[in-house]
Amino acid sequence: MSDVAITVSGLDHYFGEGDARKQALFDVNLEVGSGSLTILMGPSGSGKTTLLTLMGCLREVHAGSVRLLDQELFESDEITRIDMRRRLGFIFQAHNLHDSLTARQNVMIGLQVHGRGDPARHGEAADHLLDLLGLGERLDYLPGNLSGGQKQRVAIARALVSNPNIIFADEPTAALDKVSGLAAVQLFKDLGRARGTTTVMVTHDPRILDLADRVVTLEDGRVVMDRIQT
């Protein structure tokens, strides 16, 4: 695998059709290195979430190029995008945990996407990761009985448990207190160093900006600032 995890070139994106057609991204160019932590910033409606979903194989690339883990996504079919998503981890602002599954089961799902396996081993891996995130005492809790921060940590564990190549996260620290938020982002950085896991994160949280390797700012669908931090 190359040192570059994601290459975005001349990316345009539109929503709607006909007179209602609206362009959301304009000629976006970006290169994200493997193992790095990149933060996407920008005001609401600036296109950062659209860019995140395009890089995450959740939308079809209309124009331009998105190259993800050496796979071109422009004109790729749905099956290719689904297969690519198995190599990614997603963390959503709204957690999106399955209400009827316990914390452990929610994390196990992250492993089961790769096919049939020994559920007992999946459970052990989930327990280990949840314990690492401070939820060792909440393994059998349903999401309805967890706090917002605890849910977010379960969602983080679910994204990380299958050792994804890239993590896409939307405001992953929004529900966390300062210490937990910093610990979570530090975990992403550590994974980057140890396993080469790349993290692309949309956030408005100024507390974690300093931990990023790179901060990309979008406005009105265009990259207006691309700052590499050392």
């Binding site: 979430t49 995140l52 979903t53 995450g56 959740l58 939308r59 689904i82 297969d83 690519m84 998503r85 198995r86 990614l88 997603f90 959503f92 602002q93 709204a94 999106n96 399955h98 209400d99 009827s100 599954l101 089961q105 196990m108 799902i109 992250g110 089961q112 996407v113 049939r116 396996g117 559920p119 349903l142 939307d170 949309v202």
Partner: protein
């Protein structure tokens, strides 16, 4: 259960966990599936009962061939008469060893001011026992005494207990068609959808009770064939003896099957039962659909974002469908059994559960719930992972 299903499926039993997460909704769904099962069982039970009640009178006979008039020949009881001459013509055939006519008519048993039962009378020759069920051969001889009858102990809406000891030495008197008759024995036939009971009388008693009827025009003709004779071949050869379209010749089995088919497919009752089954299936599909398409869109979108394929979602939906069907079936079966027993007790119609019907409904329930699942999939397929952000 979760651990067992996990081992069975090789993954988390998400369908089971989804269903059991909302016990109230699950109970409502199971009640709905059970209700749909009861609807289907009731209709199938009634249809089966009709088929059974159609077949029971035929079982009284054991001739090799049955000749009827081609007019109104679909049912045993409503057949038009035919000339007795057809019997004599048939006896010309070398493989026809014997024959006997049967005369049929109806009368009403009045139990009181308002209660009445429709009785089907079979007028038969007392010495024609060979054409009837073995158990009837001896009692039929008793009908040689004039104005005697073998009465049906299962006659609907009539208290037949006083006839239990009826015998030729101690006939139990009763009156019908303004004639005094004596019961000299009993049969157990029962009512169906076309009548409430069957009484057997001699042909001579029949003509006295129904003077408008003539011995020259029986309702049916029963034929006995030589041992080893092929009924199909003999029927075809007999048909050549008669003027065209004057008789219909069948075995008892063929006649029974054709009447059952006629009652089920051409009579309103049969069609109503079929329609009832369809309604039950539709109710089941709708109820299961409501549960299976419950609001899991966001969760399914999350699974899609994680890279699960469509087959995974189909697996979850089918898992739920099978659980709903497999659990909901049993209370439906239990209530249906109760209904069958109650209806049989109240009406004397032959309605009962058969293993074949139970298995067929179980399989049908699983298929119906799976259809609901497939319909639900169309809704859940709309889950769009990009909308999660």
């Amino acid at each position: 259960m979760t651990a067992f299903l996990s081992r069975l499926l090789g993954r988390l039993p998400i369908g089971y966990l989804q269903l059991t997460h909302h016990p109230g909704r699950l109970l409502a769904a199971l009640a709905g599936v059970a209700f749909a099962n009861v609807l289907v069982f009731v209709q199938l039970g009634l249809a089966g009962s009709m088929a059974e009640s159609v077949a029971i009178p035929y079982r009284l006979f054991q001739p090799d061939l049955l000749i009827v008039s081609p007019a109104e020949s679909e049912t045993l009881s409503d057949a038009s008469t035919l000339p007795r001459q057809r019997l004599f013509q048939a006896l010309v055939h070398p493989d026809v060893t014997d024959g006997t006519p049967i005369y049929m008519s109806r009368s009403t048993w009045l139990s009181g001011q308002e209660a009445s039962s429709s009785i089907q009378f079979f007028g038969v020759m007392p010495d024609a026992g060979e054409f009837f069920h073995d158990a009837l051969a001896a009692p039929l001889i008793r009908l040689s005494l004039s104005d005697t009858a073998l009465v049906d102990t299962l006659t609907r809406f009539v208290d037949m207990r006083s006839f239990a000891a009826a015998h030729s030495e101690a006939p139990v008197p009763f009156e019908m068609q303004n004639r005094q008759l004596g019961a000299v024995g009993t049969v157990s036939i029962g009512g169906g959808f076309g009548g409430d009971g069957v009484f057997l009388i001699s042909d001579q008693t029949f003509f006295r009770m129904f003077p408008q009827r003539s011995s020259a025009t029986p309702s049916h003709i029963l034929l006995a064939l030589a041992p080893g004779a092929d009924p199909g071949r003999v029927a075809a050869e007999l048909a050549q003896l008669y003027p065209p379209d004057t008789v219909r010749i069948r075995t008892v089995t063929e006649a029974t099957d054709q009447e059952v088919r006629y009652q089920m497919t051409e009579r309103p009752t049969g069609l109503i039962f079929a329609f009832g089954v369809v309604i039950g299936i539709v109710v089941g599909i709708v109820i299961a659909y409501q549960v299976l398409s419950a609001d899991h869109i966001r969760e399914y979108a999350t699974f899609k974002a994680m890279g699960f394929r469509q087959s995974f979602f189909v697996g979850i939906i089918l898992e739920e469908a099978i659980i709903l069907a497999a659990i909901g079936f049993w209370p439906g079966l239990a209530f249906s059994q109760l209904f069958y027993h109650s209806l049989a007790y109240l009406t004397n119609i032959p309605i009962f559960m058969t293993p074949e019907r139970a298995v067929a409904v179980l399989i049908g329930t699983i298929i119906a719930c799976s259809v609901s699942g497939i319909l639900a999939m169309r809704k859940l397929a709309a889950a769009e992972p990009a909308d999660l952000f």
